[in-house]
Amino acid sequence: MPNHARAAGLTAIALLAGITAVSFAAPAKADSYPSRDITFIVPFAPGGGTDPIGRQFAAGLEKALKGSNVDVENKPGGSATVGISTVVRARPDGYTIGLGTNAALVYQPLVNDGLIYKSPDDYEPIVKMVELPSIIVVKGDARWKNLDEFLAEAKANPGKMRASVSGLGTIVEMVLQQLNKAADVKITPVPFTGGGGEGLVAVLGGRVEANVTSGAAGVAGQVAAGEVRVLAVAQKGKYEPFPDATPMGDNYGVTLPYATYVLAPKGLPADVKAKLVAASLEVVNSDDFKNFAKTTGMIVDPKGPEETKQELQQYTRTFQDLKTFMDQK
């Protein structure tokens, strides 16, 4: 069927021409940045706790930069390292940026040799967005009324008390280990890896004694209904959504939060970076973003590139210490 063959050939050529035209579009001049759509990579699946943060930021950035769409692209996998690696590898033109977390940016390189990033020197931190403090939750009718009672029982039964976490080597497990270290107890982490509040279900079903989770959003409904109670929060000072929770930062120095950042590939042109940083800071300082964070129990912590880099370097030491402690057992 020569006619079909020719038609198919012509179509293919037309398609190829189109693709070529798009991919070889002249790189945008910095002074005209942004002149086309920006891709914002969220290294998690849609529907989790982190995806909405990325989407909220992308929507804000679109307004702040004016004239360009900011398209969210979910690229989950490998504890967020797949999506972050995509950003790190991308052409440094400001058109591919993405979300990173302290766990994926700092802890993963410590345990995962194959990653193409090792430290904040391998990418450009742009801005810090929000922090979610980790909280310890027990069943609503549990016999422990506060953290002290819980820790007293843990001390009397080393290794017998269990707390569900979302995986080993995650922020919430490290918070638990920080507490174990500081309070000299041995609470056993039990990984429930399915997401969607599975660790909470294990508490509700009475299969573990406690659940360690990040932020208020996932449990607020259960707390309001009296199904669960928040014993403690891993920060200094009281946590607004759960004012009765014991701040573990005050007595035990347990403060490790789940933190989210925006990053770009290394080697951005200086003026593009300046524009991106200014717009990003504008977003995280905006009322829209603050309201969003408030309703979901997140804490906005705007930091520019230098401060963010220092914070990430600081985390490297914290995680290294914790890893040493965890490896001993």
Binding site: P46, G47, G77, P189, G197, G221
Partner: protein, 508 residues
């Protein structure tokens, strides 16, 4: 608020112009997503997530729910017509659905499915209305021990789900299990079989497997047999409708499928996929016509497709009544609620009755819309079979590639799609069964997860797996079903009692 008040209130919410429109749009887009191979409900709903943010939360959820059960319905269309499942929950529908198409009964099969989806969705909605608060905590009763019994028992039972010899089922299942171990495992974050490739840490995508071994392999199959292929006959309107006999045989599977789907939908996990597999297995074990299943029987289509719609509906129970998302789609709905500042949880029904009752009543409306919209579409779908192959096959391939890419926005998934297509083609040539491969891939990670969770939870002591009464009961049921043949032989030999042939595991 009593249930009656709630329903009346829900009617007032669901019957506003906006909510009727979004229910319609959801069902329409969902059907399209289901029909396109590879583009599943999760990827599809993720695409409209930003749109739902601009709607009020009730409308957003109504639209998402509509897309979910719409996709469950639409997924069967290509299974039946082309032997290519639109998504994983419609894999078993290929077996008997495609056989029916080859016998010229495509229209009948599609009509049976449309009505079955309606029955499953509607009856399940009634169940949600009446029992939501009571049933919400059903899933909480299940811990790692109970789930391990369910999924490991399921793996044993499903190995011969599509008939054939033992080896022809167990070998592809082993491949499926092996493929499921590739990538970064969740518990400790170790990379397995990734050979240092970052992109492999995300693992092999189920969509690549399903669309590869069915879709791509089927395209190769058709190309190979182009010369000998018979053009489907022009279908008369009368042939689009099931015969009286076909209708009669569909009702029992509708009933069983609804119950199976409803119950499985209340549990965490890939419930729509599992419900269709379980329903198929039940039809094959207990149906009066079990001997014909696998050779184009109505039961093999009616049961599973009813079940996955019932499951897509009843999974709203844990989401709305206690705020726990038990699947990827409900997790998306949960995140849509949170973005609006609506707090999901046990108090949702008190604080936001408009969401609770509005969404439930809308599912009733949506299922009617789905039925009215899709029955006339059946003749259009069937006429797709007459599209010339040189146009049709490249389009299918294109859609398969787009679908595989869209799940994780990853080229790796596309490469696997093609590789698995080739593997699927050769497995078929050697008469291996493909459904067990999908089962291995779905259940493999779950089995590992529940074993590890159980051991961690019980501080390394495996007694947890047999000390739970519910787990023990599930294991006994599994053993009972597995040994039906043996039991029959024993009864016959020792006591001379003749029982009806139980076609366990195959029509052989």
């Amino acid at each position: 608020m009593t249930t009656i008040d709630g329903i009346l209130y829900g009617v007032s919410v669901a019957f506003t112009a906006q909510n009727l429109l979004v229910a319609f749009l959801g069902a329409l887009v969902g059907t399209a997503i289901g029909v396109l191979p590879g583009l599943g409900p999760v990827a599809g709903i993720a695409l409209i997530l930003p749109i739902s943010y601009s709607l009020d939360p009730t409308s957003g959820l109504i639209m998402m729910a509509g897309m979910y059960y719409g996709a469950m319905y639409g997924g069967s269309t290509t299974s039946i017509l082309l032997n290519m499942p639109g998504e994983a929950a419609s894999v078993v529908t290929c077996i008997d659905g495609y056989e029916m198409t080859r016998r010229g009964r495509a229209g009948a099969a599609l009509t049976i499915v449309a009505v079955g989806s309606f029955v499953g969705g509607t009856v399940s909605t009634i169940g949600v209305m009446l029992f939501a608060p009571t049933l919400a905590k059903f899933g909480i009763l299940f811990g790692p021990a109970e789930f391990l019994a369910l999924v490991a028992g399921g793996l044993l039972l499903f190995s011969r789900i599509s008939g054939g010899s033992f080896a022809s089922g167990i070998f592809p299942m082993a491949i499926g299990l092996m493929l499921s171990t590739v990538g970064q495992e969740d518990v400790t974050g170790q990379n397995r079989f990734t050979f240092g490739l970052i992109d492999l840490t995300q693992g092999i995508e189920l969509v690549s497997l399903v669309v590869g071994v069915y879709g791509v392999a089927e395209v190769m199959n058709v190309v190979e047999s182009l010369e000998t292929q018979v053009k489907p006959l022009r279908v008369k309107l009368r042939d689009l409708l099931p015969t009286r006999e076909e209708w009669r045989r569909a009702w029992a599977p509708y009933g069983r499928g609804t119950i199976v789907g409803f119950v499985i939908g209340l549990l965490p996990g890939p419930h729509t996929t599992l419900s269709s597999f379980v329903s198929y297995k039940i039809e094959k074990t207990f149906s009066k016509y079990r001997g014909e299943i696998g050779k184009g029987a109505v039961e093999g289509v009616a049961g599973p497709e009813t079940a996955n719609n019932a499951a897509a509906t009843s999974t709203m129970v844990p989401l709305l009544a206690i705020g726990l998302p038990y699947g990827a789609v409900t997790a998306l709905m949960l995140s849509a609620m949170m973005v609006h500042g609506v707090q999901p949880g046990p108090l949702l029904i008190v604080n936001h009755p408009e969401i609770f009752w509005g969404v439930i009543v809308s599912m009733y409306v949506g299922n009617i819309i789905l039925l009215i919209m899709n029955v006339p579409m059946i003749s259009v779908w069937v006429s797709l079979l007459r599209v010339p192959n040189h146009i049709f096959l490249p389009l299918i391939l294109l859609m398969a590639v787009i679908g595989a890419y869209s799940v994780n926005n990853s080229m790796m998934d596309v490469y696997f799609l093609i590789a698995l297509g080739v593997i699927g083609y050769f497995l078929r040539k050697f008469n291996f069964q493909l459904a067990p491969m999908v089962i291995g891939m779905v259940l493999g990670p779950l089995i590992e997860k529940y074993i590890r969770e159980g051991l961690f939870m019980n501080l390394g002591d495996p007694s947890i797996f047999y000390k739970s009464p519910m787990a023990l009961f599930i294991w006994l049921v599994v053993i009972f079903v597995l040994t039906l043949d043996l039991q029959r032989a024993v009864l016959d030999r020792l006591f001379g009692i003749k029982t009806r042939t139980i076609a366990i595991g195959g029509g052989d």
